[in-house]
Symmetry: C2
Subunit: 280 residues, 2 copies
């Protein structure tokens, strides 16, 4: 089941064509998106997602997304969903058609959670590290590289996942050329050691994670130490737990990295999953 709603507050048929070929979202990957997890009709971290959408828009010099219109569209999707307990809710916003009047294209699309993600939530996954070609300082020095914006230009993220598949793995941990951990193509990395959660800083040129933020909030409240600082790839192999977290995948264990088994983090995973769920 899929439900599609437009920013003008109308429903549309997701199987029917909606976009012109000259939409800059298609022609130039010139647009932004968010993916929100909805459970039992309630979107999780909606405000942080809408805040991040606005931040991405600013980084791309797009008109500020109209929050009320997005809220109206996504409410329409929620109200018309009958596809089960969980939904992945995509919010998309492009620069509109080339040579047009500058009106952005925007919509909210409700989708089922993919079977692969559901399996990985339970079983964990194997990942490989791949060089993202980013040096420290680049994001701040070169804002036109849009590092840390959630754009529709995700061809590299998709290519990285195909490279993982080719190597018999399921996911990717992007790294800097000098061996510092960045993020997954569609997730944030979190390590656990004792009662400390660590994630790399967004200033490295990565996306600030909404799920990671929710997890850290819950963990801190329960007395954990949460740290935002660079993580070396070598530290992943000695960590008590390595996790890729995102709205749709929640907290997913990495059980194997670059072909080497990581520490069994099943017990930590259960604890983190409870912490995360305690937020809702």
């Amino acid at each position: 089941m899929r439900v599609l709603a437009l920013l003008d507050g109308t429903l549309a048929d997701p199987d029917a064509p909606l976009l012109r070929v000259d939409d800059l979202g298609l022609m130039r990957g010139d647009g932004i998106f968010e993916t929100v997890l909805v459970v039992n009709g309630k979107p999780r971290e909606l405000d942080p997602h809408l805040d991040r959408l606005a931040r991405s828009a600013e980084m791309l010099d797009l008109p500020e997304p109209d929050r009320a219109s997005f809220e109206r569209a996504l409410t329409l999707v929620l109200d018309n969903w009958s596809g089960g307990t969980e939904m992945a809710l995509k919010l998309v916003y492009t620069r509109g058609v080339e040579g047009g009047d500058g009106t952005p294209t925007g919509f909210a699309l409700g989708l089922p959670i993919g079977a692969k993600v559901l399996t990985q939530r339970e079983a964990g996954l194997s990942a490989i590290t791949l060089d993202r070609g980013i040096e420290p300082g680049l994001a701040e020095r070169a804002p036109w590289l849009l590092l840390g914006a959630k754009t529709l230009s995700y061809a590299v993220n998709m290519a990285a996942l195909r490279e993982a598949e080719r190597r018999g793995a399921e996911e990717v941990v992007f790294t800097t050329s000098d061996g510092s951990v960045l993020e997954g193509p569609t997730s944030t990395l979190v390590t656990v050691n004792g009662r400390t959660l660590t994630t790399p800083p967004a200033t490295l040129g990565i996306l600030p994670g909404t799920t990671q933020a929710a997890l850290f909030r819950a963990a801190e409240r329960e007395g954990w130490t949460v740290v935002v600082e660079p993580i070396a790839v070598v530290d992943l192999h000695s960590a008590a737990g390595v996790f890729l977290v995102s709205s749709v995948r929640k907290i997913t264990r990495v059980h194997t990295l670059d072909g080497k088994p990581l520490a069994d983090s099943s017990a930590i995973h259960a604890e983190l999953a409870d912490l995360y769920e305690s937020e809702y």
Copy 2:
């Protein structure tokens, strides 16, 4: 005027919606394109463009584009064009809809040449250098970064052009972090010194240029020396001529770089333009 034709050999209305919202070309910038210059009904460098489309498809693990279908579609566009002497002919090819049967989305779209490009062909343009964040060797080491593939994920290219505009310039010359010249966001860079044409090697992670190749072919035939080797940014300021070349812009002079006037290359420009036109 715009003319749109599909890979099944039918015309379509370019003002009508054609793409579903879940086309991966939109959702992930997961697709490729070419822009071919058509003059008096004749596409220029069509074979190199179709070759490069096939090469980009291979880099993205897309099914090989069906050449006959693209030729049929573009012929249909040519046959139905009444928009003047010149046309920009876009060929687009995406991974199709998410979770679909893997059938790519493809089309050919004929567009008029933009007024800005026509002005710049005559008057030249001012450019700025911007760090592309690419180190030498990265393209070969990390093929998943798709450096040198012509993908729909062009948000960074568009952001760079907006940065140029902010700084009062019109175009961008991307550079490596260590000051080596790469390419423009939608063009190839060529320098002239005496009777020598130079362009940076594609192995740096840039697109092999179809117009640059045609120009070099013509120049070599007329006794020029053509060189493919790295160019330092500092050498642009001492060159007799600096040009951004692409199908649609042809050979365009850069008259100002980072706010500093470059050598007057009007006479060289006329000579190169003649060389290029002699190919057709």
